[in-house]
């Protein structure tokens, strides 16, 4: 390649100075990136990390000289290899995009054109920019597929995007970005939509190929452990501003800023495990399906002790949310029983009496969809109080105010609508609504997944505090092992509708593991920057042995 001689490590590829970007909402422009500097050397990977609204994706795209519709770059300079991207013409940028700067989007399924094959889209840029002939480009694409460990690299390119899995698609998109051997790749949350076990392979493939071609990269994510594997240097962002920046190892060991420390802290939250034999709920040999032949739950048995937390963990499609539906009666089991305080529960929701319904409450993943946007907090929390306990009027308002205190909000919120609250506050309201029924069991379905890490920690702390006060049992459904560690007494591991393992936390999280538990646990990224390297080495050894 003609550009090979330019790839000398140490030379600056990208230099952003005092970048300012504004976003438009309701016709008003307001700042979303407030003066950020980025310097990137050849072959270096910079991790951009921050919570939602930190402006990390916006900065990533700005590094290409691009602003999404509704955003505009208002200040600063963006120098890419001596070219000022803010002053560059559209035609100049087109020449750079795809050939020297490439982009890997979060959702490969949406970013691939459904009407063309993978290889057509992979070679498009190289052929367009006249870097290779079609034949060369195709041969090269197959080589890239192989390097990225895609199955059947010689023929997978002939497939259409909907014909391959999400993890494969994400790797194909990396191949597409690599096609012209760019100087810089922007990875925009490339593994966020993937399951953990899939994520490992994709991360490994991406890291490998970036190293092989000595490409500079910006890796955008909200997941600290992931960025620790990928980045040489980490920049922490908060509301459009840099908080701090340091080489990865130093950043992990000694963060200097308070905000960074709180980001790191969430990983340390852990409940003292406590075992009990007083079983509040027992799911016994339950099968369930959505009308089809496929059993979504296959002979599932789970026990929930009183006043304890059982975490149900599994990847998408494991049946963990279906388990919640079977317990609540929304999806009556085809086989098996659910025992509540030793007595079998009526299978269907409509056969259960009001008091039974009161005792089992549920909190959903997204407060945006689980709180009626047209009801005030008074209505939302007051309704179960009125409905189950017959308390009305001023007494009901007092009860609502008490609950608001319990969830660390206060009565000034009582007349607000959910839309006026932040994500964390809304989830608190959901918790209060569940508590208002004075339940014995609360099923929490991914209640922290949609929240930023710091808010997650607060919600988990609140849930634990409430458990101490009311002795309520939690069935805590999640895909996130860190959350499991933080909150559970016992753990249920589910895979493809079956329970792989149930036991006390310390037992499940420590060897010996059943095969799937080991795969799942070992796939969860850790803050150690050597984690991925070590894991791959270990797995390679295991394979050789086998």
């Amino acid at each position: 390649m003609s550009t090979d001689n330019k790839r000398v490590k140490g030379e600056t590829v990208l230099e952003i100075r005092d970048l300012k970007i504004e976003g438009n909402s309701d016709g008003v422009w307001h700042p979303i990136v407030k003066g950020v500097d980025v310097t990137l050397k050849r072959g270096e990977v910079l991790g951009l990390i921050g919570e939602s609204g930190a402006g990390k994706s916006t900065i990533g795209l700005a590094a290409m000289g691009f602003a999404r519709p509704g955003c505009r770059i208002v200040g600063g300079t963006i120098m890419f290899d001596g070219i000022d991207l803010r002053k560059a013409s559209e035609a100049q940028k087109r020449d750079l995009w795809g050939s020297r700067i490439a982009y890997v989007a979060q959702s490969a399924a949406a970013a691939f054109n459904p009407a063309h094959t993978l290889i057509d889209q992979t070679v498009e840029t190289a052929v367009r920019h006249g870097i290779m002939t079609r034949e060369q480009a195709e041969a090269d694409a197959r080589d890239l597929y192989k390097r990225l460990q895609l199955p059947k690299p010689d023929t997978i390119g002939d497939r259409f995007p909907h014909q391959v899995s999400g993890g494969q698609l994400q790797r194909a998109m990396t191949a597409m970005a690599m096609a012209c051997r760019p100087d810089l790749i922007i990875f925009d949350e490339p593994t966020t939509a993937l399951d953990v076990t899939t994520q490992v392979e994709v991360l490994a493939a991406m890291r490998d190929i970036v190293e092989q071609f000595n490409t500079a990269a910006i890796y955008i994510t909200h997941d600290l452990a992931v960025v620790a594997q990928m980045a040489d240097r980490i920049m922490v962002l908060l509301r459009g501003k840099e908080v701090e920046q340091a080489p990865t190892r130093q950043m992990l060991k000694q963060p200097t800023q308070d905000y960074t420390k709180t980001l790191w802290a969430v990983r340390k939250l852990a409940k003292e495990e406590s075992i009990s034999d007083d079983i509040a709920l027992r799911v016994h040999n339950v099968d369930a399906s959505y009308g089809g032949m496929v059993k979504v739950l296959d002979n599932v048995t789970v026990q929930l002790p009183r006043g304890r937390t059982v975490a149900v963990v599994g990847e998408s499609g494991s049946g963990k949310s279906t388990l919640a539906r079977a317990i609540t009666g929304l999806l009556p089991p085809m086989k098996g029983e659910v025992y509540f305080n030793g007595k079998p529960l009526p299978k269907a929701l409509k056969d259960r009496d009001k008091d039974t319904l009161r005792r089992i409450q549920m909190i959903y993943q997204s407060a945006d969809t689980s709180l009626n946007p047209r009801q005030t907090i008074r209505d939302l929390i007051g309704r179960p109080i009125e409905f189950y306990h017959g308390i009305k009027g001023a007494a009901c308002d007092r009860a609502v105010a008490e609950l608001l205190d319990a969830i660390e909000l206060n009565e000034s919120y009582i007349d607000r609508l959910p839309g006026e609250l932040s994500g964390g506050q809304k989830q608190r309201i959901s918790i209060a609504r569940a508590l208002a029924a004075k339940p014995e069991i609360i099923i929490c379905d991914e209640v922290t997944s949609a929240l930023d890490q710091i808010v997650q920690e607060e919600i988990l702390t609140l849930l634990m505090k409430l458990q101490k006060e009311t002795n309520v049992s939690y069935l805590f459904i999640t895909h996130d092992i860190a959350t499991v560690r933080a909150i559970s007494d016992e753990i249920v591991v589910m895979h493809q509708g079956k329970v792989v393992q149930q036991g006390p936390k310390t037992k499940v999280l420590n060897p010996p593991y059943p095969a799937y538990t080991e795969l799942l646990l070992s796939s969860v990224p850790e803050m150690d920057p050597d984690w991925l390297t070590n894991l791959l080495a270990k797995r390679a050894k295991g394979k050789v042995k086998a």
Partner: protein
Amino acid sequence: MHPVLRTVLQRLGLGVLTLIVVSVVIFSSLELLPGGYAENILGQGATPETVANFKKELGLDRPAYVRYFEWIGGVAQGDFGASYSGVGGTNKREVAHVIAPRLYNTFFLAILTAIIAVPLSLFLGVMAALYRNSWYDRIVNAVTLTTIAAPEFLIAYLLMLLFALKWKWFPSLSTVGETTPFFEHLYRAALPAITLTLVIVAHMMRMTRAALINLLASPYMEMAKLKGVPAREAIVKHALPNAWAPIATVVAFNLAYLVVGVVIVEVVYVYPGIGQLMVDSVSSRDMPVVQACALIFAATYILLNLSADVVSIITNPRLLHPK
């Protein structure tokens, strides 16, 4: 069986089923009449014998389902039965003979309109989507919003006033006969066609614009841009293969809309098409003709939607290239 073929066949089957249901609805609406059709026509003064004779002559004395199957069987062979307008007289007229020339005229008008309107509105809509929020887009948006809201007859009379009465470019009444030569026919149908074009172009271009903007906002179009593909090429290569389905839907929807517009425009310009025939038959309560017209309109409508669905199916990559 290939999923595309299977889906198309399913859709065709559904179309046929809908047509059958529609024919039943059209046929049975007459049966709903309280007191029966004959009594209503003849008035309260009619003796039972008169009513019985009348019924017998029209074949109304047999059970409804028998008459339905006779009717639908005839329709399948192009025989719509006899018009009531000649009942009792010697010059009994076949509905098919009444309809045939009218149908030709209406299709003539509709096809003429489609030939002008479809390319025009697709072009205008694509331009508005590509240059959205430009002055061109804004003007087109305001003009079309007004045109959409204006009823067909206002547009028709305005055009008549300007083009026929003031400037005398076209005749104000579009009388044509079976012997009218082709180009003469074209000339006389011009004003109705322009009216219909104005009416549906506004709709069609707004829908095209919306569908295209929707398409252009998809992540893969952003990806194409960030791969350095120029806008024009991105549209041809990345947007167009995915645009057939929405475009077909837009075109079919608007041609179906034409079916309704044609009735009013024909009446305004006294153009002897099937729309005017239907209105006349409604006034004279010539039910076989009304039913035949309704069935033809409904069938056209169903056929248009069916073709749009078939286009969507055969251009859907997920069906074309199954897993």
